[in-house]
């Protein structure tokens, strides 16, 4: 598949942002389940034929584990509440300073549902992340970074592409070492494989670094050497502020004003620093990805889900209705032709 026919990866990340806000803002319950269904549908329908697509089943498995662990924790150390008791385990009282805690004991309806639902919310976020990676190649997404973050982005691209290489190297070394008689087990077999793989990876990294250097990577426009450190620090500070602001906005218990101020301020500093830094970096983009109709659709339904969740929640609309609307919107990309 040629790059030209792909949907812009940032559109998919906008869609994922919509999912995230809807999941976090709507109370955990049937709405979360509906949104999870929409994500699964889109993930299966749209995932690309890339090595990253293999991450999708892994993300689903991780989601199941998260729910199981959350429920398991409740069963073992959960606190009692006032709701009806479903069934009772024999209770084990802990001695000494664990006076408030007891292992096992009665299982309450409310506690069990709430544990399962919080687990489900977290699992939905993890599966969404897996789905977006399976649909939009992360390498392409990193290519869309602004000029000031270009070097960081290229480094990240290489870091993410090393993993598949390491896996191939491990298989190759294991195969080669099976030729050397004498069965090795346990720690010895582990180090026997690790040493050639890591030494090889290091050699390869040095080769790659030398090659990238010779091809002009990290070239600085003459006259812009000074002040580059300061700009980088500004960009990093802005990113931290943006992350903290986003977190504050998503966390219902944090003051709304602080989160908004952090987000807006961080964005402003980031934009300014980015413009400054971009001047020092001279680079262009070969056949940049186009923001086409499909990108508008994908990003649009994500935005719609976000607005529905935020506004509906603020207006006190029935959560199930909001969940149905948001999930229906989010599932739309599955209907359009696959990436």
């Amino acid at each position: 598949m040629t790059t030209a026919t792909l949907t812009h990866p940032l559109a998919w990340w906008a869609w994922a942002a919509g999912v995230t806000v809807a999941v976090v803002r709507l109370p955990a319950g049937a709405a979360t389940g509906l949104i999870l269904l929409a994500v699964l549908l889109v993930g299966v329908a749209c995932r690309a034929d890339s090595p990253w697509a293999k991450a999708f089943p892994a993300a689903i498995a991780l989601g199941v584990i998260i729910v199981a662990v959350r429920v398991g924790f409740y069963l073992v150390v959960g606190l009692p509440d006032s709701s009806p008791v479903l069934w009772s385990w024999p209770q084990i009282d802990l001695p000494g300073w664990f006076t408030n805690l007891s292992l096992l004991g009665p299982v309450h309806t409310d506690g069990l549902t709430s544990a399962a639902l919080t687990g489900l919310s977290l699992a939905t976020l993890v599966i969404t992340f897996g789905a977006v990676n399976a649909i939009a190649n992360p390498r392409l997404a990193l290519r869309c970074l602004p000029g000031s973050l270009h070097h960081l982005g290229t480094a990240a691209v290489i870091a993410v592409s090393v993993t598949p290489q390491l896996i191939t190297a491990i298989a190759r070394v294991r195969r080669a070492q099976s030729l050397r008689g004498g069965a090795r087990r346990g720690l010895r077999a582990f180090t026997a494989r690790l040493v050639p793989v890591l030494a090889g990876a290091l050699d390869q990294a040095l080769d790659l670094a030398a090659s990238m250097d010779s091809r002009g990577y990290a070239r600085v426009h003459p006259g812009h050497r000074a002040g580059r450190r300061g700009v980088t620090a500004l960009v990093v500070a802005a990113l931290v502020a943006a992350v903290a602001g986003t977190y504050a906005l998503l966390d219902a218990s944090a003051p709304r004003g602080l989160g908004l101020a952090l987000l807006v301020g961080g964005a402003a500093v980031g934009a300014g620093a980015s413009v400054l830094a971009s001047r020092a970096v001279v680079r262009t983009r070969y056949r940049p990805l186009l923001w086409g109709v499909r990108a508008w659709v994908v990003a649009g339904v994500g935005g719609l889900a976000l607005v529905v969740a935020l506004a509906g929640h603020a207006a006190g609309t029935e959560p199930l209705l909001l969940g149905i609307v948001a999930a229906a919107a989010l599932a739309v990309p599955a209907l359009t032709e696959a990436t």
Binding site: A176, P196, L208
Partner: protein
């Protein structure tokens, strides 16, 4: 274009290059030759700016490329003047697809998008990559990958191209491909090329100039003049020196024109052949498949003791898969192998076998694994390559020493059959000749040796029998002289010069001439 004046490079007090001076003119192809460790890579690094910026070390003298001093310019600041291509193209790829890789350097240099698009198309046409533009890099063959690596630096339109052994991992056909592309660049585009290469026989014909390195000192000049005395030389040059031709011929064509008297003098070769022993390893209708792709397609093969068998064929013809199958380490889709418990394989990258921090520890572990007397492996190693330091890290050894260590470890079990997959990768002429002697010794001692190789000159020296594969099937199987001498692509240089008489190596010719002398 490239001016090197009194270049001296020292790492930790040990000089690698001493007072090297040379000047390469605009549009010339300059060959850098010399044994392993003679400083070829260091010289190339000094031109591309990697020495000293990435490697450290002390540098004296001056290197100027296109008027820029490489000591004051980082490699990245030379990217628009010097393009660098390494041995392993895959290790230098930054992106995923051919078109993106071709554009990467231009993106870094800030070339305008419209111009970038045009240059990618032009370079793709120039190097025959047009149909591969949208392919993923890891799906390409070795020769295609190397052409992409060359194209990836060419798009920035550098005036100098520095290549460090670009064909060492390729089979003869693919190597021919890459060298033809290079020759075209020199002739049509006027690019100045600095090329280091082990297997000289293919490139000497293209060179305008040669820098021969030996022990850190350089001799630069026109090819015929330098090769009259250079420590490493392709077989055709060695034959010319032996026959006393002046100036020494550089190509088969030149040598062939002067070879009539020599052919008459030599006559037909009457050479002793080793009597093969009994069959020690048998493959019966062996089939190997990977995800539906057939690598080995029903091969029958008898491996006999006291004989060196060479398996030849282009990359992907099934050589490695056949060797792994013979070693009993490959799941077969059909057929069977008998006697595989008596076979030991040294894989293509011997370093994968080694994992301990010292040579002594590797030897001790091999003794323990094989259940033999302590010191056996070390003894075998000393017989192969004497004088390797016990405390050396196997990763710091030269390619030849590392191969010897892997062979010694595999021989500790005293297998009847030794299988070697592409053992000549990265070896210089001296190390290859040593390997020939080692393999002969093993065959004389009654062992069977199977070598997969696409190095024609090495096979001509080492093998008694050649099995040629294509598409996973045997297309030729017979004594080395019968298979190689009349082959169009696989004939060694000496055979091409002296045909129709089936001489294969300089060694054979020199032995006959030495007998005549007294």
């Amino acid at each position: 274009m490239i001016e090197i004046e009194n270049l001296t490079v020292t790492y930790g007090g040990e000089p690698v290059l001493t007072e090297v001076s040379a000047a390469v003119g605009e549009g010339e192809l300059c060959l850098v030759v010399g044994p392993t460790g003679s400083g070829k890579s260091t010289l190339l690094g000094a031109v591309s700016g990697r020495v000293p910026h990435l490697t450290g070390g002390q540098v004296g003298g001056n290197v100027r490329v296109g008027g820029r001093d490489t000591r004051t310019h980082q490699p990245r600041d030379l990217a628009d003047v010097v393009g660098v291509v390494g041995q392993d193209p895959q290790a230098t790829f930054v992106t995923e697809t051919v078109a993106d890789e071709l554009a990467f350097t231009m993106e870094q240099l800030g070339v305008a998008p419209a111009l970038m698009r045009r240059r990618v198309e032009e370079v793709a046409d120039l190097l025959g990559l047009a149909d591969l533009r949208d392919r993923a890099l890891h799906t390409l063959s070795g020769g295609e990958q190397q052409r992409v690596a060359i194209g990836a630096v060419l798009t920035a339109q550098p005036r100098v191209l520095v290549l460090d052994e670009p064909t060492s991992a390729l089979d003869p056909g693919a190597a021919e491909d890459v060298l033809a592309a290079l020759a075209r660049l020199v002739h049509d585009a006027g690019v100045t090329v600095l090329l280091a290469e082990h297997r000289l026989e293919r490139v000497v014909g293209f060179a305008d100039m040669v820098i021969s390195l030996d022990g850190g000192r350089a001799h630069a000049g026109r090819p015929a003049e330098v090769f009259a005395t250079a420590p490493v030389a392709p077989p055709v040059v060695q034959l010319g020196r032996l026959a006393g031709w002046q100036p020494v011929p550089l190509t088969v064509r030149e040598a062939r024109r002067r070879s009539a008297p020599l052919r008459e003098r030599l006559g037909s070769p009457v050479l002793p052949t080793r009597e093969p022993g009994e069959v020690v390893l048998t493959a019966e209708r062996v089939r190997v498949t990977y995800d539906g792709f057939v690598a080995v397609d029903g091969i029958d093969l008898d491996v006999r003791a006291g004989q060196v068998t060479a398996v030849m064929g282009r990359n992907g013809a099934g050589k490695s898969s056949l060797l792994w199958a013979l070693a009993g380490a490959q799941r077969l889709a059909g057929g069977r192998v008998r006697g595989e418990d008596q076979a030991a394989l040294v894989p293509q990258s011997p370093e994968d076998l080694l994992y301990l921090l010292t040579v002594a520890a590797e030897c001790r572990t091999a003794d323990a694994d094989a259940g033999v007397e302590p010191g056996t492996t070390r003894g075998l190693l000393d017989a192969l390559v004497p004088g390797i330091d016990d405390d050396a890290n196997p990763r710091d050894l030269s390619e030849g020493q590392r191969l010897a260590l892997a062979v010694a470890i595999q021989l500790a079990r005293s297998p009847q059959v030794l299988l070697l997959d592409e053992p000549t990768r990265g070896l210089d002429y001296a190390a290859k000749e040593h390997l020939v002697v080692v393999l002969e010794g093993l065959a004389d001692a009654g062992r069977a040796v199977v070598v997969a190789s696409h190095d024609v000159e090495f096979v001509a020296q080492a093998a008694d029998r050649v099995v040629q594969l294509a598409d996973g099937a045997v297309v030729a199987d017979g004594p080395v002289r019968d298979v190689l001498a009349d082959s169009a692509l696989l004939a060694p240089q000496v055979a091409k010069v002296l045909s129709p008489q089936p001489w294969l190596t300089v060694g054979e010719v020199s032995a006959v001439l030495a007998e005549e002398q007294p």
